[in-house]
Amino acid sequence: MANYFTDNTDLLFHFNRLKLEEVVEIAEHGYTEAKEYDFAPVDYQDALDNYRKVLEIVGDITANSVAPQAAAVDEEGSHFVDGKVQYAKGIQEALGLLTQAELMGFTLPRRYGGLNIPTTLYTMAIEMVSRAEASLMNLFGLQDIAETINKYGTEEQRQEFLPQFASGAATGAMALTEPDAGSDLQAVNMLAYQDADGQWRLKGVKRFITNGNAEIVLVLARSEPGTKDGRGLSLFACYGKDNIVIRRIENKLGIHGSPTCEMQFNDTPAQLIGKRKFGLIKYVMDMMNGARLGVAGQALGISQAAYEEALRYAKAREQFGKSIYKIPVITNMLMDMRVTLESDRSLLYAACHWVDLRNKLEEKADLLKAEGKDSTAENAKLKEATRVAALLTPMAKYVLSENSNRITYDALQIHGGTGYMKEFNAERLTRDARITNIYEGTSQLQIVAATGGVINDIFADDFTAREQKETSGSLARLADELKEMRVLFLDALKYVTDKTDKHFQSIAAKELVEIYSYLYTGWLLMDEAEEDSRKVFIARRYIIGAAAKTRRNWDTIKKDLFADLLHAEDILI
């Protein structure tokens, strides 16, 4: 039987080198949960064994039940009849299976019906779901909504909402975007007011809301009359269905199985989540960071599927009397795709590791504080994890979503004319990939989010330590490349910061963030190459390619490519 977990040797490679001891120890409260729940692990090895078995279930369902329906889901799409949204048949069935398998409360605490599994493993599940059918991820991957209620809601709210998510009785939606508030969420206009009884109510329109037909909706709304910016916004939870009018669903390029709704709130009763005025600046930012990691996982799953389609087709297709797989130009394209796929996976799961660490250290620090104990050590570690996670999350989302577009593009190209036809999966994957670098913050906004960490060179000590480590043979050459890249990075960084021109800095940020991602990923691949000899090939192709791109980005900055921005009006006629 096919299995998207056990058949993916690279995913297994990453699973087998997880180092989540600290995270799981905190998540399991020192493994005391096992006393209360028969499915809680008794130690770290037991936890890993649990995770493996749960991912095997995901791998089974995605490979054998979800993937075979993907083309039909794309063809059928979602339905909008008499004001009600209906999922495609394949989506309904898939949600049924994921619910039966008890996978809809992946990260939630056990007391609310969840599995209490860390984000890293959840992201692995997202990767598999997306490989099978990208739009299913938009429903399976919305568990961050429940996570947000878990983190910022009251105990009463947790008890009300979370079991509904975990049991699969409810799906969620996060209603942020409005017609005039897309990338600029500070402009959100949805009104939140308290009626005579003190009940919060919502009034206004939300647009482009994934799964807006959900049973439980988190809404960003203006609770402070007279304010204009993000500080007047709060976060609310409300029930969908009869309380919200769905005006239409969008006709989209890809991810057809996931309905994108326009929602009208007519004095919809809602509950405030957390504190007033913290809606955007804290809760939504946090929720979106979780969702960004999910979208990176989605992009990776699509990349994996596209790579496999391309490889299979190239092996089967014969031209010039041989399989096109054997034509060097094609072999080379496939190798580029494979190396990109594997380096993307390294970056994503490194990011996940830091996110898990940040989340759990935060939990522990809060707990210690509540118990009146000293949390100095935790706070120091938490500070570092927060800094790293804040950089790696947008970086991973940027790199993986752009690469997913590249890999699906090449996969279609390898199919030639056939790839342009609907009969093969390459065109669907190409369309599905296209949203990943748009939603949950466009690539351009991910660069903005990553810029701070890059300009502050937060991995400086880490890179220096790695550069000083002894390496031998071919890895020594690669280490030299990385050292040279770092010199170029620091040079370019200095050039950019020395120029005090804010416009120039905002444009050059892309070049800098990219170089930083090459450096970070390059060193990750060096670690992997030391553990596994096959990974030397991956590290080699990645790093030599990255060095060339680094020189190009450096050149772009140093030769003032962007100086003509002053003449934009003359050029843009």
């Binding site: 028969d38 809680a40 008890e102």
Partner: protein, 296 residues
Amino acid sequence: MSYHSIVMVKQVPDTANISGQVMKPDGTVNRSKLPTIFNPEDKVALELALQFRDRFGGTVRVLTMGPLKASDLLRDCLYMGADEAILVSDRKFAGADTLATSYVLSEALRKLAPYDIIFAGRQAIDGDTAQVGPQTAEKLGLPQITYAEAIIEARGRQITVKRKVDQGFEVLEGTLPLLITVIKDAATPRPFRAKRVMAYKNAHTLLELEKMAEANSLLYVDQLKDEYVSKGLFIPTLTADDLDIDVERCGLSGSPTKVHKIESVILGGGAHETIPATKDGMYALIDRLMEDHIFG
């Protein structure tokens, strides 16, 4: 009212995925090279039993006769939602044909009484005999409904079942307790449930505990068993000593079926045939493929 069901399940070689190494030169099967799976129709039978429990309440137990390795199958049943799994295993049962197998299973079922419904898959993909279910019912003196594709209703001691027949179906009513064999189309087996997988992954049969004790001189089977029972992780295991049986009717000695000859059929390419690219040509091709069981 609620009902108590027992599902008879079997672990079988994965005959759909036979690789080159599996067939020995003499045409027999090298079992050690063969992956094993949950016999597909037995899995459907378990699903139907679980759906029946979802509808009417009650319990679902599963029963298999097999070697140590069959413990995996029983855990799979627990992962899907079976309330209890029971292994019937003894060296004396080895080499059994359908007659000897149904004899041992029927004796095990007597021990597990009372029950309302016994479910079984129509047949196993290794032997394709479809005999064990019906033989077991005969030995227990139970009515049986074979080729079931749906349970329409259950009321008191009456059950209404839709069964598949050539060219259609028939609807039968039966009085409990009875035995039902289930065809593949009856249901789609549910996935494993994550919490049950984590909870029961360490559930073990007596044979597995014996093996653990053999590998470690510090462990004693009785102690292990007590420990696993107390944790709710012991899979009850019935041996010949636990059943009131005539050993002569078990295993090889109780199996009149003798394999007369095994032939390793090597399919070779034959002559070409050109099929005209017309509608009639296409229909003729489809008919031929149906005849050869390549289609349908």
